[in-house]
Subunit: 294 residues, 4 copies
């Protein structure tokens, strides 16, 4: 489907995400570096974890009028600032459009929510491919004009099928992947290739009800609130750094089926919020926890 | 688009919605009537408004084994029970599939949310037509295989254009309409033809910020929470009976634009919840307020 | 402290709580029994668990004009209705004022919340005694004019000290106990004497972070929402039937200390809500889950 | 009542709150000023309103090791930084304990919540006086050992009685006042003397249901969510800058009385959160809106 609205024009901006051991003077150094070079700072957010003694920062500025040529910024910032503070940092440009792959199984609610936002031009992203272990969502992919690869997985063929998937991610030049209710556990080998590059939605309020059938477990336990959790995938199942969580009320009148129904709305919104944060370069991971900038 | 899942098979059930002046014995009379005729009651919910002295009830039962033939239930219930208590009542059958019309303007988020659920077979509904005062959503309608009628409205042609719309609703045998961010005020004449048959989504927490540009007003007032409200349309703008409301937090860092963005997620979920309740025959209106059964 | 407002005068009402195997005709039988005897039903709520095939009901009616004398209701209902349906049931009278014991340790927030409501006459309850394993809350008890018993507990003296506590509960004619952040695990023996008669508040969103130091665990896991859970105490620690849960948002900027601070507000409200439901006779327990009537 | 816990020892810190026209270099200038003088920055938060072109900042640092003597900081900061950027600023010290007056009428829930936190040493505040237009809360004040002044107000004596209140605020050296469900409208003259120094709790989700009897109005309108709003008092009734808002769900089964009951829990928590923010010097007011720092 052609876009119903063109993606909102991103002005020409740079985004810097960094963390480093906390020290005096980091904020002053970074802001001074930007000011000296005539940056128009659009947003600046920083956080100090006083326990871990780690400094986190996100700063976004307009490149128009900026004194350092775009292709030289990394070199200059690295040499003049980052090395001095032993920073772990990344520089992004708003004009680069990340490429996202979707993994789905049989359920459509998260897929539709993502493709609706994509079609409406809500995100600065390209979605060239959908990968699935089931054929069910192929018609949806077709109507939205996105390639669909059906890669069924069994215990026996898992390694070779995942190899195909990895190949596809390379071919389509994918920057990060989203598991939109993809009901297959990725192998450690797969996951370890893409650190903080795979976003999953788990249909419970983690760490409660990790693993299979969380709504059944929630119903059996008689909880009065259910939740959904989006997180980066790590080799520990459902143990990766949490990005967004949300909850909704339930009661004794809920059945497993009605929890599933209520949960769908949570899942899709929570997953899409996580994707937004990732695309806006507002996520930093440190020691299995996320810093989520505003 | 063909359905990706067939609509969930509704078993053969009857649903009775009623209200009447409160009196002793109504619950016993109704349940006794059903039991005597071998009804398998699936759900029963009742409420008494002690101030207004009004009794409300919703009861749903399986028709298999029920002693009264389907086409005779209304007659029997009316004569034996309803008349006795001066009930205002309606009988529905789960095998009847309501026909819903969508009214949209330029925004796609509510439309996509509704069509996604429709395609996934989440609701027992038929959506044969989308009506709009703008051409923008036509491509969306096409891909979902739904007729789209572009009926532009100006001050001068409003009466005749609304006449066309009313004609369309008749042609398509529409049972109820949903204004999915339809940015045109319906005339009193239009509204008065369809009491409790038009569901609207207003992008504020009513009664706060009724009327135009509620996100601008919310931003100007500096609220810390924004909301969305679905309601039945009456001739008083934004004053109809409220069905569902929900809210989300905001803060000083929000701009009008970010409120609009946050609000979209609220609006689509709140509107779809209201549609669900309407389709499940769980809504009763009395004196501009709704009873929303579980 | 003398009450600043007298407890709201409870009108003379009966409350019936029951559950039994689901069968046709129960609602009709119970309501008919009440109607025949001229009951003015104030509220009626019922629920069927179709999986477990269990019927639950709560009905409240005014005793004025009721045809059966108060002291005969149990006998009549038991013989005429309850036995027929193998009901598990209890009859309560609004004029009976339950007697509640409080168990506290060093923290005051839940204690103050409870005593504030008590002093304001918000609940139909008598609180004659506070029991603690620490002396810290004695001044609070004194100012509210409530007996305080300091019963320190060590591994070695646990059995005999609990025996003293049980003796106190008997002496003060206690109907149920509330652990208002009482930081001592009660022995199985103690707990088994008071099934569904001890309400606890756990400072996490159970089943997440059961056991000690939940805020530390929540912080370490990096959750974006924290919660509190009130439940009936069973011999399985933090595994009893959940009564009320609530949550609040947190983020990377929260420290363990700020989570503790946020959590206090949740804990006190969630615990007091559970006490309200218990006092209003709106809780039924079945297979480690609660039915919470409106 | 003696404190059950001494107020948490505040370390020796300075807090700077400022806003000014947005310009390049402010963050760098302020942080550089602090770093040059060896400040250990504990927290730094800033915000730019790009529409209004206003820069807001809050920075907190430890005074130990700080190079400028405490009593000279204002002079130095004013001369070296603030004047340069035309800043509107205030300097606070954590060792100064603000003095708060409480205004109450007949309801105790907010009063108890505040006094409970005060007694538990949760806040860095002194509460030397409670003022009321009713005698009802005198016993509560006595038990907490706080002076209580009963100043009844009629249409005829309002001016002179408010003069007495203003005298009391002077006598007790009050820094700011909290209206804890004080059911008297303060005169414009009174309010204008204490800009951003009077915090009120309104029992609705403002701007919905401003004015008298908001729960009655909410019930009549049939809303599905009710709220509470804390705000600074201005001469426009219920129109002052909003500090904190929160909401809770309601439904058709709620009566005005049950809304009042639910609302009490909201009101007390929302008001106490606003007081916390005020005491932590995390509130800035600009054009009738608040910036609420984390």
């Amino acid at each position: 489907m052609h876009r119903i609205r063109t993606t909102k024009t991103e002005t020409n901006r740079a985004i810097l995400l960094l963390h480093c051991p906390d020290k005096r003077g980091i904020v002053a150094s970074v802001t001074d570096f930007l000011n000296q070079n005539n940056a128009n700072i659009v947003s600046l957010d920083q956080h100090v974890d006083h326990e871990e003694k780690v400094f986190y920062m996100r700063v976004e500025w307009e490149l128009e009028d900026f004194g350092i040529p775009k292709e030289k910024i990394a070199e200059f910032f690295g040499t003049l600032i980052a090395d001095k503070y032993a920073m772990n940092w990344k520089l992004y440009f708003s004009t680069d459009k990340p490429r996202m792959a979707l993994f789905v199984s049989k359920m459509s609610h998260c897929l539709f929510d993502i493709l609706s936002r994509y079609t409406a031009g809500e995100w600065n992203v390209e979605i060239p491919v959908i990968i699935s272990n089931h054929p069910n969502m192929q018609p949806v992919a077709e109507r939205f004009g996105i390639d669909y690869h059906y890669i069924p997985i069994t215990k026996d063929n898992k390694a070779e099928q995942e190899a195909k998937e990895i190949e596809l991610l390379k071919e389509y030049e994918i920057d990060f992947s989203v598991l939109a209710r993809y009901m297959q556990v990725l192998s450690d080998d797969f996951v370890s290739r893409f650190p903080n590059k795979i976003i999953n939605i788990h249909h419970s309020f983690l760490p409660a009800f990790a693993g299979a059938k969380p709504y059944h477990a929630a119903h059996a336990r008689g909880v009065k609130i259910i939740g959904a959790t989006s997180h980066y995938v790590t080799s520990d199942l459902d143990e990766g750094p949490i990005i967004v969580q949300d909850v909704t009320q339930c009661s004794h009148i809920d059945t497993v089926e009605s929890l599933v129904r209520k949960g769908r709305d949570l899942e899709k919104i929570v997953l899409s919020k996580a994707i937004s944060k990732h695309l806006e370069r507002k996520l930093l991971v440190y020691k299995n926890r996320t810093v989520v900038f505003n």
